[in-house]
Symmetry: C2
């Protein structure tokens, strides 16, 4: 495995490999890799000749009040995981390599970026869209793998790829969970032992919503109140949002006709957790 | 010469040629090609193996009050010029191919986009930055040639290429002028016969500013007032701006130390004309 640090080195490598007809796969990460990332890397590994993993804790997607400084950075462990999974390039640019003096360009997806996570984290998705576009510019991947856990991020990236004709095939890999259902996340390490035992409540709540849809409930208000009821059992958790949305635009749905995504964000102690469940309503067989 | 109309056809062609090690040159245009475009096409032709010219009157860079509907579209003549100049691909996408339903992404360069032309045409440069990024996504050019006449546009594109690591070598070709100095522009056809004879006053004004700098004037206020004086001779012309700016950021300069760009925009009748002159101050030899 090679470690590259500059945009130029990364771009030169990609250009050379493309000329040789090699298919490039890409998994962008902020490091602190866990089994969720491992699953993304394995999924990518199966679909490309050469595999790039980037490790870049992108400052522009953090608000000043957020956890940029304390975000975990176990680089030796991250590299070891990449090496073990057959990654060819670990791309580790510094912040000044990505954002040199004079940097100004912003990529935004106004509709998707303003809802849910974007509502709570106002500049977050412009930071994500911009850095992903730039990483794609350097890596020039044929395929890129993102995790479903950050559902809104994946929807945003899909929109950017399509709108800017970036020519990247997006693969959204199902969320990898701990045994008790908690979605894996680099931020789970922030949870106290007690809070960790409470954390699966978010997924349980979303599952309750999904079960309701499968059992024929269509009104979003009803689905939402069922999800909220489950969460209320856990007084330590406060709800940021629990929403029934269109999986493409992330606009809230009044009722579920075919597909929906249930999005949830809660706080336990000082830790924010997000999760989601994608639901398909069983096709109606005839009319009553 | 082949004519391509869809993003997919364009992207497939580029991908195939890149695999064969071919260098792709690109001249994006809104059609209504004149000798200025011809010069860009020739400059590109010399530096690449395969040459793409796009003809796309981009609706998002026009304001509702502007000339989108009446913008000249002499497509047969444009194709003939391309064919004569050895263009390989004439890319003529329709507006719905570039902006299909659901399109949302915006690329902006806030600093550059808000000044001068951007001040007068508020959404213009977001439209330009977005469509150029998308065209680059489809064409994947190794080099792209833009005209110096749209100086601010070229500065914006340079910023986008650099910031998003698009890997395109930007060539800015000197402005091609009519014999009397008027910068060639597709919009010159809107000028009445009388106004056409007055139009070179803009370039004369900028030249006066450049001469002042070469003769040792450094204070922008003085340079500006000289340019304004020249323009005042022509009562039919109204000034949108005459500015002394940093050639990279386009920020106004208080005084000229080394390089500067003189930017001008005027109105004659209903027609807006823009032009610019790039100036280098002669290096100081010792102190007085």
């Amino acid at each position: 495995m090679n470690i590259l640090r500059t945009p130029k080195a990364m771009a030169d490598w990609s250009r050379r490999l493309h000329r040789e007809g090699v298919t490039i796969g890409f998994v962008p990460t902020m490091g602190a890799l866990h089994d969720g990332h491992r699953a993304l890397i394995r999924a990518a590994r199966l679909q490309c000749d050469a595999l790039v993993v980037s490790i870049f804790v992108n400052p522009t997607q953090f608000a000043p009040t957020e956890d940029l400084a304390k975000y975990p950075r176990p680089i030796a462990k991250d590299r070891a995981l990449c090496r073990a999974e057959g990654v060819d390039i670990c791309f580790e640019p510094g912040a000044t390599a990505i954002y040199p003096e004079g940097f100004e360009t912003v990529v935004t997806v106004p509709g998707i970026a303003q809802r849910w996570e974007g509502d709570i984290r106002p500049h977050h998705f412009a930071g994500v869209a911009t850095v992903v576009t730039k990483l794609f510019g350097m890596v020039r991947p044929d395929i890129a793998v993102f995790g479903q856990k950050d559902f809104q991020q994946a929807a945003l990236v899909r929109r950017v790829i399509e709108d800017l004709s970036l020519g990247v095939k997006l693969i959204v890999h199902p969320t990898v969970r701990e045994q008790d259902g908690l979605a894996m996340s680099s931020r789970n390490v922030y949870l106290s032992q007690t809070d960790r035992t409470l954390a699966p409540i978010l997924y349980k709540s979303l599952q309750a919503g999904a079960a309701a849809i499968k059992n024929g409930t269509t009104a979003s208000r009803q689905i939402q109140s069922m999800m909220t009821q489950v969460l209320r059992r856990e007084s330590a958790a406060t709800v940021d949002y629990l929403a029934v949305c269109d999986p493409d635009t992330l606009a809230p749905l009044a009722s579920v006709s075919e597909r929906a995504v249930l999005l949830g964000a809660i706080r336990i102690g000082n830790v924010r957790l997000i999760d989601n469940v994608l639901v398909k309503r069983p096709a109606k067989r005839g009319r009553r």
